[in-house]
Symmetry: C2
Subunit: 264 residues, 2 copies
């Protein structure tokens, strides 16, 4: 099956690394794919960092990767606003990484919350009440809501931690305004952005990730092959029990090279 | 009508003061009622302060008031947990005032979020991500949720600000656990606590407040006379349009003395 695949869409958290720790064999697997001339894009639901920050992290972990091979929800949110809402003014409930991606796509910030056309929400690990209140005021002032993703929880260094859903819930619940656009996997926005980077049709691409609900679902919706890795949130039992099972279940990303070597 | 009334349940924000400002004639009206031997209880949905803090504020504004004449949602939440959940361990997403009220009723704090039986949520104007995450972990660890109130917004010094509903939304949306108990007006918990302080049956009591949804509704549910004042969130038009109209509509709390003087 793998000999029809020229492009790999690889999830990051739970697939390449866990928190600050590289997953065994991940760097070698990426190097192996590149040595075989395969195209790669790393696709993550992280919206609070920029591609540059992400690239620095991956490089520090020993991966050979360029910024152009990384697509984050911060990236795709910026791209979406640039393309579909030209000239819009944004207010960010989130971190610098998202602001950097918006700036990279030329998306402007509003001078005050009340002047924003869009409130952009992402994970904000240094959130304060003041920032929450500014976001609230943006929406009360008429801003629509776009969220980089809607994850409820992420694996923090000391256990599961509250994710973007918390920030979204605070604003939605206090304003009664619903989220207009959620960018994160498994959305077609993310699939399209990844395929654009690869420059390949979906049937020649494979998604590798640890989440049935985001990675595998994204691949299946877009007509791509899918491989679930068991280094993150999912177990083999979950894969078997899934309504739509992944094409492959691997112990880890390292299996991609083992499987390709078998083929030869 | 007023000559059958011996106890007055008086709302604070929008009725006695607005932000840091006393409402014209409010102190005199309270003094007048006391001079006529009327019993008074101040009943507020504020859950982030203690009776002591509130009493200090009212005294500084020139009102003659004792701590025992104040009932806040922090007070009633503490009372509820003491009576109905004896021995329970709590985790607070909120401010010191609520912690003080819980301590006053002997309600214990859990040593860690994961050990809490109840998460108690109130307005938290110095909220941080860390505190939001601790609250999230309390609920993920099995704590039920009790909220002092569910107000979406309060009048801040520089405009409407995000209220408890924001804090509630963050936790509910990220954990999928619903709020078990909401204490604030118009709940019967608040009416009972106020009547206990007055030591009078509802038919001898009147509620005076600026909110149709919380003050007037509470009075009507409990079988008390109600007077809406127009110094806060409601207008005369809103009173006229209400499905269940208040018995009286006054320009301000000062009207209570004018009306009583007419009777004599």
């Amino acid at each position: 099956m793998l000999n029809t695949i020229d492009g790999y869409i690889i999830d990051l958290d739970g697939t390449v690394y866990k928190g600050k720790q590289l997953i065994d064999g991940a760097a070698e697997a990426v190097a192996f794919l590149k040595s075989r001339g395969k195209r790669i894009v790393f696709l993550s639901n992280r919206g609070n960092i920029s591609r540059r920050m992400c690239c620095e992290k991956l490089t520090a972990l020993g991966l050979d990767v360029a910024e152009e091979e990384i697509v984050l929800t911060s990236t795709v949110t910026a791209r979406y606003l640039q393309r579909h809402m030209p000239g819009c003014r944004t207010w960010v409930l989130g971190e610098q990484g998202l602001k950097d991606e918006l700036a990279a796509y030329g998306v402007k910030e509003a001078a005050r919350p009340e002047l924003a056309d869009w409130l952009v929400i992402t994970l904000h690990e240094t959130l304060t009440y003041k920032e929450l209140n500014d976001a609230f005021r943006a929406v009360r002032g008429g801003a629509k809501i776009i969220a980089t993703n809607a994850d409820k929880t992420f694996p923090g260094d000391d256990g599961d931690a509250i994710d973007v859903a918390g920030m979204i819930g605070a604003i939605v619940h206090s304003t009664d305004v619903q989220v207009e656009v959620t960018v994160g996997k498994p959305s077609s926005l993310m699939a399209e952005a990844a395929l654009d980077v690869l420059g390949l049709p979906p049937e020649r691409c494979m998604v590798i990730g640890d989440s049935l609900a985001s990675d595998i679902e994204l691949g299946q919706r877009a007509g791509m092959m899918t491989a679930l890795v068991l280094t993150g949130s999912a177990t083999r039992e979950m894969a078997v029990a899934a309504a739509k099972q992944p094409d492959l279940v691997w112990n880890s990303l390292a299996d991609v090279s083992t499987e390709m070597e078998k083929m030869v």
